[in-house]
Symmetry: C2
Subunit: 510 residues, 2 copies
């Protein structure tokens, strides 16, 4: 039976055969020669996930002062059933990610179809042809026990394999630029030794040709400025030796808007790796703090969001203060503290724990349970309770469900034997919680609801008038506001319609 | 024997006798009548400490659109041996606090001597004469065990007595504006009930004349903008009923620069009280986070200060990130999380703990021990080691030693039987650690030092050239930099002179 990879739109793409691969190697060689003849340098991006695919298009879109492309970009994605479809999709000029940023389809069409200097492949030997590899392999933290982030670890097996593949193919002069968020120490203690080992196996003298490894982390945000958040933003970088630092600076300067966002060079890759994980730990800690004060505020008649606004008046010293919500999702704040804490012991044998950061992950991971507590304070027995969750993505007006706190919410409500229905205008399919259908028909899903949870601040939900909601429900549901999505005027309208309203950190409405 | 109160400059002031007090009552009455005849409202400030004395002068300095004083201010300080001297000192036109802010002596001279609308007294009955009382009684948290802030509590006995005195004297129409940082709930659950009780005893019908209690917290900073930090800055306020809110708004609008810093009104006094303690808990949490990462950075060759600079490039989202140091001092960050955590259980019976904030206090309180660890990594046996601590105040270029982390540092070094000498150009007398003499003669104190700790970033220390320090020491001391006071150039100079250098969060120099 032919193995196929199925794209999100249902189209099936057969995985390449050995014959296909042989043909592909010829194509890659020919393209590369043609592009070199045009004076272009050749780049491979390893991993065409959330960051890699857009980064690849940004690199391809970079031009010299005459407006000509500086690089030809090979995007590399392994020929797995799960992901191979990205290769033919990209090569048709279409992005493999959906986004509210109109620049995403534009930049794919421009680089793949118009400029013809970005092409995806699943052939591993592509790495033998390139001057720069940008590593965008995904690397996740594993948290074996819920609410015990201190037990979290990082399984770097697949990452090591990806790096080993590079070591087997790349020219020793090739820059390996790790863009993945990695545990501090990874470039020095994982990437460099593997490349040295593979170089040595290939007969390369690593005293003459030490591997050129650099690290620079992205600060990408999904949403309406997805492309710009990669290209037009502050970057931190470093390398394992002077040559890698020099090459990394040159590459980033060609690709990013370093005039408006000058690069920050740090002393070594440990520093750059630590900066990324600390940066996100700072945010995670900040959010965890607000939840604890929100719980207190609820009990003493205080609106924590108004308190937050009052504190944030102090620009430059207090305006980073974040807010409590249903919980923390996404791919960064939920794992980066764990990566760093794990690295401290596993890569450096430094005793102790990053307790502030790790406690924050525990508080944030279990935050959705607080919303369930709010329901149970009003309706102690939630069995068979008809609950509707509005929003399953982790961010407003975005369809990204990675580590969404709605997952924890729905899972625990279902454990409590509630009837849970979920709605999200941006999510077609909830990959992380396949047993739950994400509905699109709001009136249908709200009908009969006894509890309505405003879980995510999508504009569609913020624009709903209380009367509309109550009319659709045909009940007087308990309204739960997870992060100040309802202002006092709307809350009073709900109350006027006979609904109780409760909210995270909203003690003033009790 | 006559009881006397001794001022910091050594002058002795006898405490007032009952005869003095009787005379004072006549004076107060006469002044108040004269001032009322001029159309001025009368204000009392209760407690002439760090905040109260300057707040009193700012209130007195407030003028109407014609440039005439709006208020006459009675500053009230109890006739204790410890503090009575402030009364005659202020009445001579001299501030009872030393400050690097030139506006402090100016505003005292202007209001006391020129405008003659600010006068201090120790007579309790002054409160019967006033329209507004600003409460600036100090209120501290007690942490019975070092590094166990969760056991901290707030002894409000003296505060309650101060409020009871108000209840016994004030006109029921008088606004009681609490400016002290108090445990959330204090105005509602402590101040208001005491006033109601005392009003009732005096035959006042509290249904007709409910006590008028408001809360608005200062954000004063010692240093060169001391006065301005009270007058020209954002203020949050609320009151226990509409009338107290109205009076509080009117008073603050008269006294502060509300045109450039509009007032923020919150729903109730719980919210205002919570905002202050949360605001400082945010800072405390932020600092504690950096120390844990600094410890990690030290072990992996990373300069945490350069990492911090890289992260802080992200204005508005990451630029509040603070820095590790010797430790956290002062009167706010060390106690406010404890006040709130204590209030949660003691005033509201809310279970749980503000764990992020409380853990941060523990990390911050024990932070000075990390500097001792840095020494012991280089010199395991610190007995008889001659150690010089540069800086004993808690803030650079300020002589304020309240809760200074240098105290913990010196105490623990002395427990380890080190010979510790301390220097500070701004501190005359170390009230909190009387057994240690604070020296002024830098060459004398440095001579023979085996370890020199840059504990506080006074400009005098930052300007020291390595060669000067080493010459004064006549040794090659171990140099300890507690918070990035030495840049890489200076560190290399010290190394060139044969000194080892270590620093909090400075792994790159190891």
């Amino acid at each position: 039976m032919l193995k196929v990879s199925i794209a999100p739109d249902g189209r099936e793409f057969p995985l390449p055969t050995e014959q296909d691969n042989e043909q592909e190697r010829k194509v890659l060689l020919q393209i590369t020669q043609e592009q070199r003849a045009k004076g272009r340098k050749i780049v491979a991006v390893q991993g065409l996930g959330f960051v890699g695919c857009v980064m690849a298009s940004v690199v391809a879109d970079a031009t010299d002062k005459d407006g000509n492309p500086i690089y030809y970009v090979h995007g590399h994605q392994r020929a797995s059933k799960r992901s191979y479809w990205k290769v033919p999709i990209i090569n048709s000029g279409v992005p493999p990610v959906s986004s509210s940023d109109p620049e995403v389809p534009q930049i794919f069409h421009r680089t793949v179809v118009e400029k013809k200097n970005f092409r995806a492949t699943s052939e591993d030997s592509v790495y033998s042809l390139v001057d720069v590899v940008v590593v965008d392999i995904q690397l996740d933290a594993t948290k074996p026990a819920f609410g015990e982030a201190e037990k979290g670890y990082c399984d770097i097996t697949a990452f090591r394999e990806g790096i080993r593949m590079l070591g087997q193919h790349i020219n020793p002069e090739c820059l390996v630029l790790v863009e993945t968020t990695v545990p501090p120490g990874t470039c020095q203690k994982v990437v460099k030794p593997i490349l040295e080992e593979e170089f040595t196996k290939r007969g390369i003298d690593i005293t003459q040709n030490p591997p050129l490894v650099a690290h620079s982390y992205e600060r990408v945000m999904p949403g309406s400025k997805y492309v710009s958040s990669i290209r037009d933003f502050w970057r931190v970088f470093s390398g394992v030796n002077p040559r890698s630092i020099e090459l990394c600076r040159e590459f980033l300067s060609n690709v990013l808007d370093v005039e408006n966002y000058p690069l920050t060079q740090l002393d070594n890759t440990n520093a750059s790796e630590l900066a990324k994980t600390m940066e996100n730990s700072y945010r995670a800690t900040n959010i965890a703090l607000t939840l604890e004060w929100a719980r207190f505020a609820e009990q003493i008649g205080v609106d924590i969001f108004k308190v937050r606004d009052a504190i944030r008046k102090r620009k430059g010293t207090h305006d980073n203060l974040l807010r409590p919500s249903l919980g923390v999702g996404g791919y960064c704040l939920t794992k980066d503290p764990v990566l760093a804490n794990w690295a401290m012991g596993a890569l450096f044998e430094v005793p102790g724990m990053l307790s502030m950061a790790i406690n924050s992950v525990n508080i944030n991971d279990t935050m959705p349970l607080h919303t369930i507590d709010l329901i149970k304070r009003e309706i102690p027995d939630v069995r068979n309770l008809r609950i509707t969750v509005l929003g399953v993505s982790y961010l407003e007006n975005v369809g990204d469900t990675r580590h969404s706190p709605s997952k924890t919410l729905v899972e625990f409500l279902r454990k409590d034997l509630s009837h849970v229905r979920a709605h999200d205008p941006y999510v077609e399919h909830w990959d992380e919680l396949e047993e739950v259908t994400v509905e699109k028909d709001l009136p249908a899903i709200l009908e009969g609801s006894e509890v309505v949870i405003f879980a995510v601040g999508h504009d569609q939900y913020k624009n709903l008038e209380p009367k509309e909601v109550v009319d659709m429900c045909k009940t007087r549901p308990l309204i739960i506001d997870c992060s100040n999505f309802l202002d006092d005027v709307k809350i009073n309208k709900y109350k006027g319609l006979g609904c109780k309203v409760r909210g995270v950190g909203k003690g003033h409405i009790v």
